[in-house]
Subunit: 338 residues, 2 copies
DNA sequence: CTGAAAGCGCTTACAG
DNA sequence: CTGAAAGCGCTTACAG
């Protein structure tokens, strides 16, 4: 069916060894012969079978990517970065959605192990001990993207979540806000939820601001609907707030929607600050000011890092990428208070 | 390194043939032996090497997916559907972003051919003749998702774009709108741009409405910024409009943003209708009424279809999935005109 | 410089 | 029921 090395050998009238040589170390074969082989390859549109090569080299140049859900804007953008890096390094990506479900994760891992991917990138919230066991059982090199592990020594790449939330809160305070509420991730999420909450609280403390966590913090799982509900709750429990810091753009948009619904002007009456800087932040009304993560670069960096460990190169265990405040129109300066 | 069939054979004290048999047709091997082998497999956590099997079966159970850009919400959702279907059928997906760039497409295709993916799914706007040549040169089975080809007989799955646009326009008209503008895709895009424009025009014609295409239709490439600019243009060229039909949710959001900026109330003064029903439609302010495509199901159906052609099963050439009007809050009924 | 041979990890007729 | 052998498509020492 597909043309094989034998077909080329026959056409060029040499042994298959020679064909293999012109493909792998051309300089070692006689010029005229090399030329003849090249022509045969061209003529037959010969493409070496990567399965056969993989069997020999024990490398497939493909990496397995595990994310909760591609259809989420954040993960989609990270995957874009991964594919770009993979492509540049001559690799491919096999994508798997885990839905944060052990069974799905286990199944994917099993198949990836059988297909002999060179390594794994795991992207999600905290690496639970079950996740870790599953991951480790494959024996495959692993890099964490947008998450990390404090219990296990797994290379990872992410933003400094505590500091990012701190900086976001400081910005709000600098704009004159004193009554600030937070739409937080779950404190049980020790990778993003808890540290961001801590960063937020540290900023308020440093500014000498009091804050009743019960009244001023609502929780959600980073999704639009949660942001909407959380905002509704805060609007009642903390009606005097002048600013809300949401820990994802989606939750920020949810807050925007709720406030708009009840007729609160943004940012005139309430300022909203988001987190992530996904593309939707700029599509909000008003365009959402947000603490930006370099999402695609996290993905890009994750595969770079994985390829380094595959090459046995040294690399730092936990890479930290810089976040950046992206100022748009959803936060207003409270001049009156200055 | 990795444990192989030989290790298992040694441990179970049988030949490798027997190991292979218990993995592929267990009923054919003696019960006690089978048991012994199963234990050895378990104990060594043996996973057969998919490369070796692929070499023999000439099947890799992986399919290559080519999309313009995963980070686009529409494609991300389709990919989700594809992965779900692939997983259910025991397949994997190798993802590649083409950026609608011949070079990238060619490179991806080359690698996918070498890795011997079982088939290809191509998702994008029209299949150009160069695209087609590239695709065909791989010799791999192909299915088109959210696009089709009228020149070539390639199995495809999509919505009826002309009818969907027609139905959207009819809805607007039914709500009492008479002065309707359109933010269209490019007419050069013969898969979505042109047919939707035609469907829109047909609806107005059927309703006996006059429309000056020059003044009332603006064009864009489905992105937010284009929707924004197009709306700005329409606002000047056709100030008396009461409704705008945007051919993507992103462009709809762009229109919303522009109108909000210039103080036009939505939907009180202008109604906006989107297309696609991506998740962001529900996150808009106001929530966007839109002509919905079953995006994930298009992806799901595309791999189902591909697997059918791989199995040599018969399947229709062009599958059409139903669209559906999703009513939210961005379109108002013009009572006064009824 | 080049061919024959062994081997990568599996499967499957072919003989027993 | 089961083992030895050939073969999937390649690569690479090993001899010339």
């Amino acid at each position: 069916m597909k043309t094989t090395i034998k077909d080329v050998a026959k056409l060029a009238n040499v042994s298959i060894s020679t064909i293999s040589r012109v493909m792998n170390s051309p300089e070692i074969v006689a010029p005229e012969k090399r030329q003849r082989v090249l022509e045969a390859i061209e003529q037959l549109r010969y493409h070496p079978n990567a399965l056969a090569r993989g069997l020999i080299f024990k490398k497939t140049k493909t990496i397995g990517v595990l994310v909760p859900d591609v259809s989420n804007a954040y993960y989609a953008e990270a995957i874009r970065g991964m594919e770009d890096a993979a492509r540049e390094m001559g690799h491919n990506i096999i994508l798997s959605n885990t839905d944060k479900n052990k069974k799905r994760l286990g199944d994917s891992l099993q198949v990836m192990a059988e297909k002999r991917v060179d390594g794994l990138i795991f992207m999600s919230e905290p690496v639970s001990s079950e996740d870790y066991e599953l991951l480790r059982a494959t024996g495959l090199p692993l890099v964490l993207a947008a998450t990390h592990s404090l219990e296990y020594d797994i290379p990872s790449i992410k933003v400094n979540d505590e500091q990012a939330a701190y900086d976001g809160a400081v910005y709000l305070i600098g704009q004159g806000h004193r009554r600030i509420a937070m739409i937080s991730g779950r404190p049980a999420d020790t990778v993003a939820g808890l540290p961001r909450l801590q960063g937020f609280l540290r900023a308020l403390r440093d500014a000498g601001l009091e804050l009743d966590v019960e009244r001023c913090v609502a929780y959600g799982d980073y999704r639009f609907e949660h942001g909407y509900e959380a905002m509704k709750r805060l609007h009642r429990s903390y009606p005097e707030l002048t600013a809300v810091f949401a820990m994802s753009d989606e939750m920020g948009l949810g807050a925007l929607s709720y406030l708009h619904e009840v007729g609160v002007k943004i940012p005139a009456e309430v300022s909203v600050l988001g987190f992530d800087n996904t593309r939707m932040a700029s599509m909000a009304i008003p365009p959402l000011t947000t603490v930006g993560q370099p999402i695609a670069r996290i993905g890009y960096g994750a595969v770079q890092k994985l390829l380094k460990v595959l090459d046995g190169e040294a690399c730092e265990l936990r890479t930290e990428l810089a976040h950046e405040l992206v100022v748009r129109d959803s936060v207003i300066a409270l001049i009156s208070q200055q």
